[in-house]
């Protein structure tokens, strides 16, 4: 950090000022002047929080994608289909058993099993043939999308929030101060806050596994030099299958989360595939912290854009991606190859 500050002090200073301004906007009650320019603080805070929680969902989906790509160079454009499948199965499980929590292990196991099949049938046979993998997974996503449409129809489903997570909660963030001096706190859906916490936990756990355990060591070695790891006689194919299953399962679990705080319908698969693509392009291919940073940036850009410039919110996302490509093609936290 200190070395970075010494290398380019102006950039760091500007970034620090920006962060400070943002923190002030979030924490302090707004004077009337700021409200006049940007509208009520409640709207701003809600946009920020929706951006962060949407980023959490994007992270859940994109981290599997980036992990799979980083380790195996497998391009799985059927990742969005896994998300959608997870959402539908999660809906069925939650609807029939009435237990929202039960949906998570069930979906994780089913979608992870599908991931294992994909790895054995498709990717293992086409190792290194990126274009062919892309084409086959595009074909798979067409077929899966139509099968899902066949089974579940064109309706949009919403997975019901369980009782212990429904309703709003007060956050320690002041939105306004009443005339009698009492502060008004922001009320926000409880389920979203918990999803954010869960995503952070998943992210930290992934980081710990990758950086502190033996299997994580294998994965990191595989990312760096796959051939060398295979030549050392380690069970690389087993690691591949495990990582693919985990990434696929995470996408399926993402489907439940997405179905709970948004909804699932045909077309969501391409939306989330696209979000994953943009997130990993911005964050850097194969990097988990990169996926987190990219997901946060894209989620925030989308939601803030939606509130303050509804027509152009998509363009913001795109402009961020183009800027990253133009100035740092390997992604913000990607390793230079």
């Amino acid at each position: 950090m200190a070395a970075l500050a010494r290398a380019n002090p102006i950039v760091v200073l500007l970034a620090g000022l920006l962060v400070a301004a943002l923190l002030w906007l979030i924490i302090a009650p707004w004077p009337p002047g700021v409200t006049g320019v940007m509208g009520p603080k409640r709207v701003f805070l809600a946009a920020i929080l929706s951006g962060i929680t949407l980023g959490a969902l994007y992270f859940l989906v994109a981290s599997g994608f980036t992990l799979i790509f980083g380790l195996m160079r497998n391009v799985n454009l059927a990742h969005g289909s896994l998300y959608l499948l997870g959402g539908y199965i999660g809906f069925e499980v939650a609807d029939r058993t009435g237990s929202w929590l039960l949906a998570f292990p069930v979906v994780f196991i089913i979608v992870a099993a599908l991931g294992v099949v994909l790895q054995y049938v498709v990717f293992r046979r086409m190792e290194g043939e990126e274009l062919r993998q892309t084409l086959v997974t595009i074909g798979l996503s067409i077929v899966i999308a139509d099968l899902l449409l066949w089974i579940w129809g064109g309706k949009s489903y919403q997975i019901l929030t369980p009782d212990f997570l429904s309703g709003p909660m007060d956050l320690p963030l002041i939105t306004a101060v009443r005339s009698d001096g009492a502060a008004v706190y922001l009320r926000y859906p409880r389920v979203r806050i918990w999803i954010l916490i869960a995503a952070v936990v998943v992210g930290v756990a992934m980081w710990l596994v990758i950086n502190r355990t033996r299997i994580g060591m294998l994965i990191r070695a595989g990312v760096d030099d796959r051939e060398m790891l295979a030549a050392s006689g380690l069970p690389i194919q087993l690691v591949f299958v495990l990582v693919f299953a985990f990434g696929a399962g995470l996408a399926g679990v993402g489907g439940i989360v997405g179905g709970t705080f948004q909804s699932i319908s045909p077309g969501e698969d391409t939306r989330f595939l696209l979000a994953s693509l943009v997130v990993v392009i911005v964050g850097g291919m194969g990097s988990i912290p990169g996926a987190a940073l990219g997901a946060l940036i894209i989620g925030l850009a989308e939601q803030i854009g939606l509130v303050y410039a509804p027509t152009y919110s998509v363009v913001f996302t795109f402009l961020i991606m183009a800027a990253v490509l133009a100035f740092r093609p390997q992604g913000l936290l990607g390793a230079r190859r």
């Binding site: 990126e130 074909g139 067409i142 291919m285 919110s313 490509l325």
Partner: protein, 352 residues
């Protein structure tokens, strides 16, 4: 998938000139194409062949980039869609509050120019990356364009898009009549086919194929690799724009879905199923696709399935092609021919 290009050079000015070197099968095909209106009905002319030529042109632009440049770009349908939108925005359409109503000799060149500029710009971004990244980036930009047209009402008229976009009445002919439209699309398709064949054999095209095979070596030889790639995007964008304009004229309307993600993927499917090694591949792929989409409902109904499972058939067919024959239908054909040739004994030349 190894996309081997057409490395053949023109065989020089051998006896009889180029006319004598055209194989007889091609003469029959050309005659058939020219005389088609004499025996085909309007549906076949307008819906089947018109659409085949249009989709073939857009897929041809992808084939040029992928086959000769080694860059699989998913932006081609978006470039086509933008050109179509521009014709509707600049020219006359049923949506009068947005359309400017400029005459055809301004709006068509302007549409092609702007769409080509857009395609080149995207190319300039995409060539900073390679292989799979190109696919992802162009896919992301294509999707951004789709969502943008759907949300923007001031320029692109949002969800509803533009209706009543018809070709101009030129030389007293209504170009949307089936026979006239058939010849119009046939002419455009032939022109773009010839252009691709010509460019592929020109010094630029040969250098591009060199860049595809070994970019580092070409750079060492003094070729500007980046500019060759960007120019290839520009050339492909011109073909795609003309295809897009024809597509709007055929449908007489354009909406965000015209360049939506399913359409973008369809173009890739068409080009790959046809084959990326020769410019005729995209047209074969487009013909198969159009036949499937025109007649699949009837076939599905005959098999006792719901007629809206068309996508499933296309998806499974595509999957089968890329899984078993990565170089498409053309590759199947070439392998069959090679097997026939190999049936002769290599020593004596006699059939075994």
């Amino acid at each position: 998938m190894a996309v081997a290009g057409e490395a053949r050079l023109p065989a020089g000015s051998a006896s009889g000139g180029w006319l004598a070197r055209v194989p007889p099968a091609l003469w029959v095909l050309a005659l058939l194409a020219l005389l088609m209106p004499a025996f085909a009905n309007n549906f076949i002319l307008f819906q089947v062949f018109g659409w085949t030529f249009i989709l073939g042109m857009i897929a041809l632009s992808l084939m040029f980039l992928a086959g000769y440049g080694g860059m699989v770009s998913l932006i081609q349908m978006t470039v086509a869609g933008l050109a179509g939108y521009l014709v509707a925005i600049l020219g006359p359409s049923g949506t009068e509050q947005v359309s400017l109503g400029l005459p055809w000799w301004i709006n068509i060149p302007a549409a092609v120019l702007i769409a080509t500029f857009f395609g080149t710009l995207v190319g300039a971004l995409a060539v900073r990356t390679e292989g799979i990244y190109t696919i992802m980036i162009t896919l992301a930009i294509a999707a951004a364009f789709f969502y943008f047209t759907r949300q923007n009402y001031t320029i692109f008229n949002g969800y509803s898009g533009f209706s009543l976009v018809v070709p101009p009445q030129l030389f007293g002919i209504d170009w949307r009549q089936p026979v006239a439209f058939y010849y119009l699309t046939l002419g455009c398709a032939l022109l773009s086919y010839a252009a691709v064949v010509y460019v592929a054999r020109s010094p630029f095209g040969l250098a591009l194929q060199g860049v595809r095979d070994n970019a580092r070596r070409m750079a060492a030889l003094g070729y500007n690799v980046v500019w060759h790639r960007i120019l290839a995007y520009g050339f492909a964008a011109v073909i795609a724009s003309f295809g897009g304009i024809l597509l709007v004229w055929q449908n007489a309307q354009i909406a965000p879905g015209t360049a939506g993600l399913p359409a973008v993927i369809d173009i890739l499917v068409i080009a790959v199923v046809g084959g990326l090694r020769h410019p005729v591949g995209p047209f074969i792929g487009a013909f198969i696709y159009v036949l499937l989409s025109s007649f699949a409902p009837d076939i599905l109904q005959a098999l006792g399935l719901a007629p809206d499972r068309f996508k499933l058939i296309v998806g499974i067919g595509f999957l089968a092609v890329v899984y078993f024959s990565p170089d498409g239908v053309l590759g199947l054909w070439e392998r069959a021919m090679a097997r026939r040739r190999n049936r002769t004994d290599p020593l004596t030349g006699l059939p075994r």
